[in-house]
Subunit: 216 residues, 2 copies
DNA sequence: ATTATTAGATAGTGCTACTGTCCGTTGTCA
DNA sequence: TGACAACGGACAGTAGCACTATCTAATAAT
């Protein structure tokens, strides 16, 4: 398969494929001559994966490269894989956040692993996930938006259900399967969850305010 | 309060405040002379709100302006407010998506409002929320990532719990309170949910793979 | 009186994700 | 065999976005 066919098969412009090749997001084809190369189905899939990550996944090129790196070389699948995946995906955080509200919540839920980090964890100082929560909570606060504690509990319980289902289904046969599952699951399921929340809000709204009286 | 004090009170550079003024995200101060104006606490709060929306909320300037517009003029709080909020926040979608898988899922859950739109709804053609779900599912598919149907059910149920809690708590006294609640709740709770998911994943991972044997 | 600050206008910056152009080489079809 | 499209590779250019810097004339502070 030549580059133009690869382009046609994926809908990605040739110039963009070249760009991804330069950036190392897509492996080079097999050279048949100094200026010709052959691509195959693996390239098609890889290209689709890249588009999913930078498109719906919202990752930058650099973050995409990092994520793909983990998938390509599933080095220590049992050693803090989640941490690596989250690190690659998380937006970078300011370092002057007040984490006490986040820590208090996490403590209340008994999520001890997040606040009393375990060995083998990328626990350089404060936990990345807790910091992320702290930033999100600070934004709510800055906006003057109050979330009642028991609704935070509802959120936590709902996300714990989600997480348990995900961790229970984690494939343990192959290391690379586990890595792929965690990394892609982290990135690509997020938009699914957000989309579902919106649909569910609409449904719940109609249930509470039945039409006739038009809904909110 | 002069603009430099407003800057000091919020940590936002003067040049940026001027920019937001130009863009109409922050209202002008009260003029005391052709080239002087006074700002007050309302400006401080507004500025914090703007920073929360464009920062953690991840909104563009244009989307922020639209969201603020809804908050400033809560015109028809009962008329498809959710739709407006979602529209302002949702990333723009390609129009060549296959919505059948999304529609099938939504049908299976009996979320009829999403697929048989109600009167008073911004239902121009296919539902915006369903389209968002369709795009997210297509990305998963392109990446070769399979989500089992019963896990989709878990996701749907979890998000329905979330949504019900949110709609139940919706303030009905003031129209403007309802609008503010819906709009900010849509935008600013998303990062909270995602942060919680990450923490819950870590916790669930430690629960399933107890340390000693280091966790995933 | 001097110095700092202001509103407003306009231009510029830094970043990111591509996109376009050129070159010399190679495949392909007539 | 010759014309012509497609190729890889290098590099410059572009578009959009969220600011940021500079300037001017007027006003405030000391």
């Amino acid at each position: 398969m030549r580059i133009s066919e690869l382009s046609r098969a994926t809908g990605v412009p040739v110039a963009t494929i070249k760009f991804y090749l330069r950036e190392g997001l897509v492996p080079e084809g097999v050279r048949t001559s100094p200026n010709q190369a052959q691509y195959d189905d693996a390239h098609v899939q890889r290209l689709r994966l890249v588009r999913a990550l930078v498109g719906v996944g919202g990752l930058s090129i650099a973050a995409t490269r990092e994520v793909l790196g983990h998938i390509d070389e599933p080095a220590q699948p049992t050693l803090d894989l989640l941490g690596a995946a989250h690190q690659a995906v998380a937006p970078e955080l300011p370092d002057d956040v007040d984490v006490t509200p986040a820590v208090a919540l996490v403590r209340r839920w008994g999520w001890s692993s997040c606040v009393d980090p375990v060995e083998g964890t990328s626990g350089d100082g404060i936990d990345l996930g807790v910091a992320g929560l702290a930033v999100a909570l600070a934004a709510l606060d800055d906006a003057g938006f109050v979330v009642e504690p028991d609704r935070m509990d509802t959120y936590a319980e709902a996300m714990m259900r989600v997480a348990r289902a995900e961790i229970d289904d984690l494939p343990t046969e192959t290391p690379s399967a586990a890595v792929r599952y965690v990394v892609l699951g982290t990135v690509l399921v997020e938009p699914v969850l957000l989309a579902l929340r919106r649909l569910a809000q609409r449904e719940a709204s109609v249930a509470r305010f039945p039409p006739a009286a038009p809904h909110v």
